[in-house]
Symmetry: C2
Subunit: 506 residues, 2 copies
């Protein structure tokens, strides 16, 4: 393509990316299918097929053709002619390219093999509640993560910062520390007041028997209510709920139905629905590019958390729905709306992160953040993890796990090498609260609209300020443009006090 | 790979085929998903993705790497060292390779474009019952089919024989003519006796309201009853039932639920289940090769037809199931088993092939066969089709369509260029009857076992004589080895008389 014009190069590049996206779509669908009902005996061959197609995506991300495109499009004279979307696409592709190319192939294979094995061992160790089984694998994973951070990082950068940047571009330990310290202090203080209030909402009405088919109908309705487009997605049952984007017009969610706990499906549906709303709201111009997804893990989580907790667990949300809910489930007849609202907002220290309430959740994250940061920075030995886990649980939440299965072995993340990922969850809550504050500043009637069944102002604001940009803007740019400032942890604390004061008569 | 051994070449070839199969799996799943619930707005992007991955499968089937493998493995000294499975794989790959390579790329593109457009125009023409809309497209398709037959065929071979061979390797017009002539005569005679018997089974009890959820449970049970392995497949609802093989251990079926006709789901499930049993029965050694599917369209249809009509519509089949069926659907309480059996075997001339009963079905096929053969051989003009269609319907079935939608426009096949495909359907019935005869010769108690709820002898015989071979043997080899003779149409005629004589007191 020696004498071809910039426009030709851009066209060829976009077409190359489109094809790459078709492979990615195939992989996403094959994984979705594995988790939603592919037959057991076909799993081994399916896993091989996923391997083959993922390798092809990887080859396209890192191969000589990508290198040629990037080199050519980054030439200053060419670059100047590029439209902003293509520029951002080039930046994103270069980022992926470098990230993948800097790891020697042999080390990457070692990582894939190790983590595949480690996940199996972790499951067994958790089953037997025996940390010692998993410890040698975790040690090797930590070593590899440190090694990888070395390949990726600039000199002088803390290795853990390099890992953080994988999930939240631009985030550093300094920033996290500065956010988490006051959040922990305020959370522990709030939790103390809640516990000593003596009030404990009665959750038992939500733990009666709820017909699964009716739950399914309710959840479909809730999704539609928040603005989820069923013509561009679908909902299926799974054990572990997730959201996956098959293509730009196919953002699927799964949910989890528990017959004796209505909360399980309702809030996992709204949570995954929040992720899906983000994906469904991305500007069509980004279709077929690596920019057509959420800007970061944290920002993605902000949308799921915002819709789950700040909308789905608000009293306003249920005002227009509650009579219908009681009709569908007559066992709720005697439960007043404010008691329902209190029940779905019951705060209580607990051992398992994924079951934690909105307030204590961040304490679980901080604990993991501190431990994994210390592991990566060489300040903590794997062998000491279970003990420190118990100490920190005692100090932050006032409870301590009876065994490792309910402690250090509860999460799958470390076995897959996902160091630097946990902070995204808390970041999601922080982003969500700050975005909520800006939304109420711009649209003071937003929650009144929610209370009258109209979620369009809320979704419209998120679409305009967050969703449409996909990865075209960084999380920081989105946040600053939407809220006028950088991440500020005070909004989450304020929201907590505002929300829980009436429930617990603080 | 200059100095490498035959074993190395075979290993590399098998690994190449395995990867090709992974792409095929992705395409199959993406198509399955499109037809079972992919959201509407994602369809356009999905179709592009299917295009990209199908192109990749095609490139691997016809590219220089395949050419090198085939040339190398076909060298006499190498060939002699190959195991029989690899030899058959090479033959099959060569067949596909030549078939694809002989069509100039430009003509292939013309075909893809034309048929894509023609399918849309056909749907519109059928909607408006206006053959003239579709006629110009059909003319061009016939031209292209003749042209393609020229590329594929040997000199002196009739063009229609070349097309027949695509779907039923080795089949020729002479054979079909010799089979169809007596079959038509006997069928018309039998139909005459049935019509003049004055007996018409009452089908109305099967056209009451049948709860869809209960139908779903019934159909899952029927599948299990015939031996379908749900751990290597799944069942989903669709408008047009089909069977698709995702991988060697994942043979899925779909079925069609009609609330006011129990027959729709029951017999489409058993029909597609028959296809799936074939796929589930293929020898594991063929996994990941192009031999891991049915040997031909006709043989595949023999399995679906055998299970649908010769098992599923036998009285023996329902003996152990009928009491449960009546319990699940109390509206059948007053319907005796023999009346149920007669109702699901009601024979009646009708206009639409896919709704036709077992006896008249083949007449619909013969009509299409005669017309499409004459079109390809240049003995019939497209413009004359509707008239000849009516004449032949009148002559074979004694009825005539009121319009083209119920006549010449009813099938999608020709719009997609599937000339030579229709005979497979009748061939399936002929194979099925001949296989049934051999089964009862080898296992005289087979239907008694069916009547006591044990389908293992029937399935076991089909597994042993048909399923396991996949494409490792030709249809003719399978038939000769299983039954001791070449295709003999008398078995189907005998079966018809044996079955329908008691029902219609002939």
């Amino acid at each position: 393509m020696g004498g071809t014009s910039t426009a030709d190069w851009v066209r060829a590049f976009r077409s190359y990316l489109n094809e790459m996206d078709h492979y990615r779509e195939a992989v996403a669908l094959m994984e979705w299918d594995l988790r939603t009902g592919a037959p057991r005996k076909g799993v081994a061959l399916r896993s091989e097929a996923i391997g083959t197609l993922s390798d092809e995506v990887f080859r396209r991300q890192t191969g000589p053709q990508m290198a040629e495109f990037l080199d050519r499009l980054e030439e200053p004279s060419t670059w100047a002619e590029l439209d902003p979307v293509t520029q951002a696409v080039v930046v994103e592709c270069r980022r992926e390219f470098e990230r993948n190319r800097r790891i020697p192939a042999e080390r990457k294979r070692a990582f894939v093999t190790l983590t595949a094995e480690a996940e199996t061992v972790w499951a067994e160790a958790k089953e037997q509640s025996e940390f010692a089984l998993f410890a040698p694998y975790l040690e090797r994973i930590v070593q590899l993560e440190r090694e990888f951070a070395g390949y990726w990082g600039d000199s002088g950068r803390r290795p853990y910062d390099t890992l953080l940047d994988l999930y939240e571009p631009g985030l550093t330990t300094d920033v996290v520390d500065a956010l988490f310290a006051p959040l922990r202090e305020e959370t522990v203080r709030l939790l103390g007041e809640i516990v000593s209030s003596g009030i404990r909402p009665d959750v038992s009405p939500l733990c009666q028997t709820f017909d699964i088919e009716r739950q399914r109908a309710l959840n479909a309705r809730l999704l539609r209510h928040i603005g989820y487009d069923f013509e561009a997605g679908r909902m299926d049952p799974t054990v572990h709920p997730f959201q996956t984007t098959i293509n730009r017009y196919d953002a699927r969610i799964t949910t989890m139905f528990v017959e004796d706990d209505l909360r399980a499906s309702v809030f996992s549906t709204i949570h995954e629905g929040g992720h899906a709303l983000y994906e469904q709201g991305i500007h069509p111009d980004l279709t077929g590019t690596p920019l057509a997804t959420g800007t970061s893990m944290g920002m993605h989580e902000s949308q799921s958390r915002f819709f789950e907790n700040m909308i789905g667990r608000s009293q306003a949300f249920w005002v227009p729905l509650y009579a219908d809910l009681q009709r569908a489930f007559p066992q709720l007849k005697g439960l007043a709306l404010d008691a329902f609202h209190a029940a779905v907002n019951c705060v209580e220290p607990s051992l398992i992160r994924i079951d934690a309430d909105e307030v204590t959740y961040n304490l679980h994250i901080m604990l993991r953040y501190e431990l994994e940061k210390a592991l990566i920075e060489g300040e903590l030995e794997v062998a000491d993890l279970p003990g420190i886990w118990r100490e920190k649980m005692e100090s932050y939440l006032g409870i301590s796990p009876p065994d490792d299965a309910h402690g250090v072995l509860q999460d799958v993340h470390w076995s897959g090498g996902l160091f630097g990922y946990f902070p995204s969850y808390a970041l999601g809550n922080l982003y969500a609260a700050q975005l909520r504050h800006a939304l109420l500043r711009d649209v003071p009637s937003a929650m009144d609209e929610v209370a009258s069944g109209n979620l369009a102002p809320v979704l419209g604001w998120m679409r305009e300020h967050v969703h449409q940009y996909g990865k075209l803007r960084t999380p920081r740019e989105i946040l600053r443009q939407a809220t006028g400032e950088d991440l500020n942890g005070q909004y989450l604390v304020d929201y907590f006090w505002e929300k829980f004061t009436p429930i617990y008569h603080l």
